[in-house]
């Protein structure tokens, strides 16, 4: 009986570990990169402020921020292109691009500022799985190209 309980515990531990591995596939590898950066442009990751420069790889949860006069351009792993104007704050809230597993989704939070957004493959493969969330509105995206000025 005791051995059985032990086995169950082991199975549960394995299951938890496995699910953690699958859940974190997108959390441990880069989801994109910085292509252009000028002026005051930085990435806030786990409380650390990184100066943005071309080639810097982006991770899920990164906060992309520009100051007055700053600009930042990035490309995500599904070919989504995003440009931030000055005094802009955004966060890569959700990103899943695993077409073989049907695991697709993108949520970009724009707290304030100016952005240009060009859809990538996630939006083409899974229309309805891409959102831009802002303090004033939620934007449902269907394979497209847009500009937004967000004044909270």
């Amino acid at each position: 009986m005791k051995g059985c309980g032990m086995r169950i515990t082991l199975v549960v531990i394995c299951a938890v570990l496995l699910s953690a591995i699958f859940a974190s596939a997108e959390e441990t590898r880069p989801i994109g990169l910085v292509k252009t950066a000028s002026g005051d442009a930085f990435i806030l990751r786990d409380g650390v402020r990184l100066a943005a420069h071309p080639g810097l790889e982006l991770m899920l949860g990164d906060q992309l921020t520009t100051g007055t006069g700053g600009a930042l351009g990035v490309i995500l792993r599904d070919d989504t292109v995003i440009s931030l104007g000055p005094a802009t704050q955004t966060r890569l809230e959700q990103f899943a691009f695993e077409p073989a597993q049907g695991n697709l989704g993108l949520v970009l939070r724009v707290t304030r500022g100016l952005i240009e957004y060009l859809s990538g493959k996630i939006s083409k493969l899974a229309p309805g799985s891409v959102r831009i969330e802002t303090p004033v509105a939620t934007l449902g995206i269907r394979g497209t190209h847009l500009l937004a000025r967000i004044v909270p």
Binding site: P30, S38, S83, P135, A137, L139, T144, A148
Partner: protein
């Protein structure tokens, strides 16, 4: 008294410019020659669908109010968004390379494209590369999954070798395979189709 007129003008100017910059704006842009997709703008007070190029909507942040949609002139858009549009990175570049049947060896005409791909990588550097290998439907799922992986690895290897031989920095490269699950040309199972024996290279 003589200060009153300039003062009023200043107040009016600040008031108007304040108004102009206080609303949020969403604009749908054309996508090259393609028909634009659509954006659904949802606020606390309503919903507005944008599905036409240059169609826009204003949102009054404090009240969540949505304006009627307006089709803007590109000059007006440029006035608000010029700085953002100037900083937009060029979209990723894609290449399709084709292979001999059941092999990870490129067809001669595809091999000839490699120098051009290297030139694009150098021009866009620093880049991220992705190579996705595909196969036609001859053979099992497992066989084609493996063949796709071999094709992706072969292309990634050739590109990074060429880059290194020309003194370029190696690019972070992700390889994957879709086997026979993502056909360019739809065919029945167990059908040879040269256009499905391919690898897609993306330069970001």
């Amino acid at each position: 008294m003589r200060y009153l007129v300039p003062f009023c003008c200043l107040v009016a100017l600040l008031y108007l410019s304040g108004c102009a910059s206080q609303k949020s704006v969403i604009v749908l842009l054309p996508e090259g020659e393609k028909v634009s997709g659509a954006v659904t703008v949802v606020t606390a007070n309503g919903t507005q669908l944008l599905n036409q190029s240059w169609q826009s909507v204003e949102i009054d942040g404090s009240r969540g109010g949505l304006s009627d949609s307006v089709v803007l002139k590109s000059a007006a858009v440029q006035g608000i968004f010029g700085s953002v549009q100037a900083g937009m990175p060029a979209p990723p570049v894609h290449y399709l390379l084709y292979f001999k049947m059941g092999s990870a060896e490129l067809l001669p005409e595809s091999r000839l494209l490699l120098p051009e791909i290297i030139a694009v990588i150098k021009k866009r550097s620093p880049v991220q590369l992705s190579v996705v290998g595909h196969a036609d439907t001859l053979g099992s799922v497992a066989y084609n999954q493996q063949l796709g992986m071999q094709r992706a690895a072969a292309v990634a290897g050739s590109l990074n070798e060429l880059l290194a031989s020309q003194g370029g920095t190696p690019a972070p490269t992700e390889t994957s395979s879709r086997g026979k699950t993502d056909l360019l040309v739809k065919t029945p199972d167990l059908t040879p189709e040269p256009r499905n024996r391919r690898a897609e290279v993306t330069i970001r």
